[in-house]
Amino acid sequence: MLRPEMAGSNDNGAGGNGREIQRVRTIIVAGQSSDRTREVLRALSGFTNVVWPTSLESALAQAGSQDAGCLVIADDLREEPIDEFLQEARELQRNLPIFVITDPDDVAEAVSAMRHGATAVIEIPPSYAALCEEVSRAMQ
């Protein structure tokens, strides 16, 4: 079911028509409409190319596309456990940096996210700066 969208985003930019266009890769923020997701979006407002897909399917499709720069999992996605979503995203793109935001001190959740393919887990609060740093590094 993800195929059409993925194929669509693979079409633009990746074509070898002589001129290499500097592609702007996207920062995909996944999360339901919650305070935390909004705070993450605000923290990332210094980046130009942040997208916030409205559905799980669309978030996965964008994570799997050539244009994906990194994926930030800000919050629970409906009833879906984060680990499953993570694993799916990781299977789509082995090298995509994926950051998971968790509550402070939830070590078990952080370890589980790492086991399921997260590049790093960032606890929020306190550190939006750490998130921006990780995202900047991923986008280089």
Binding site: T102, V107, A110, V111, R115, V121, E123
Partner: protein
């Protein structure tokens, strides 16, 4: 050689923790050995010994994370389960990024640790089986003559005998003979199997 029993190595500076973990593992039928420090473990560890490690993060002298780093440098693939009383997310993330199998905060339930140990032991035997498999393939590769190796590389790129013959400037018949030797020495039943073997020993990106 695959029959060495699996051992769980417990490295913790706390005598009480070592004793209770040894008892717990013993009660579950798992063979355990304990060390009071990272240095003690590193000086006595034999890489052919299968198993897993249960490693305390905070120890005087070399910490658990430092020991993990040392093991990585030595190419030790044994799964590491960290245990700690004072864990935080950055510490857990760092340990996992460096390849830890798991990271468990004290206090934990006995069964929680046993489950993870069992999973780590399964992972270790899978890792070892894979390594044995690739070692065998490398040995077979080393037994090929330079010409056979060239033929192997070309046929696994998908080239037909005729094209290989053209590339190497030899007759098609000669290629067929080399190819038969390659299949025999590599113990491959088909081209697909040969391709899979080459993928198994290719350096991962």
């Amino acid at each position: 050689m695959k029959d060495l029993p699996q051992t769980v190595f417990v490295v913790d500076d706390d005598d009480a923790v070592r004793d209770s973990l040894r008892m717990l593992l013993k009660s579950a039928g798992v063979h355990a050995e304990t060390c009071a420090s990272a240095q003690e473990f590193l000086s006595s560890y034999d890489a052919s010994q299968p198993g897993c490690l249960v490693l305390d993060v905070r120890m005087p002298g070399m910490s658990g994370l430092e020991m993990q780093h040392e093991l990585n440098l030595r190419g030790v693939t044994m799964p590491v389960i960290f245990i700690t009383g004072h864990g935080d997310i950055p510490m857990a993330v760092e340990a996992m990024q460096h390849g830890a199998f798991d990271f468990l905060q004290k206090p934990f339930r006995d069964q929680e640790l046993l489950d993870r140990v069992q999973r780590a032991l399964v992972r270790d035997s899978e890792n070892r089986a894979r390594l044995r498999h690739t070692d065998r393939i490398r040995e077979r590769l080393a037994s090929l003559s330079p010409r056979e190796r060239e033929v192997l590389d070309l046929v696994t790129q998908g080239k037909a005998n005729k094209m290989v013959a053209g590339d190497l400037g030899v007759s098609q018949r000669t290629v067929e003979i080399h190819r038969a030797h390659v299949m025999q020495k590599m113990e491959a039943g088909s081209l697909a199997e040969l391709v899979r073997m080459m993928m198994a020993v290719a350096p991962s990106p």
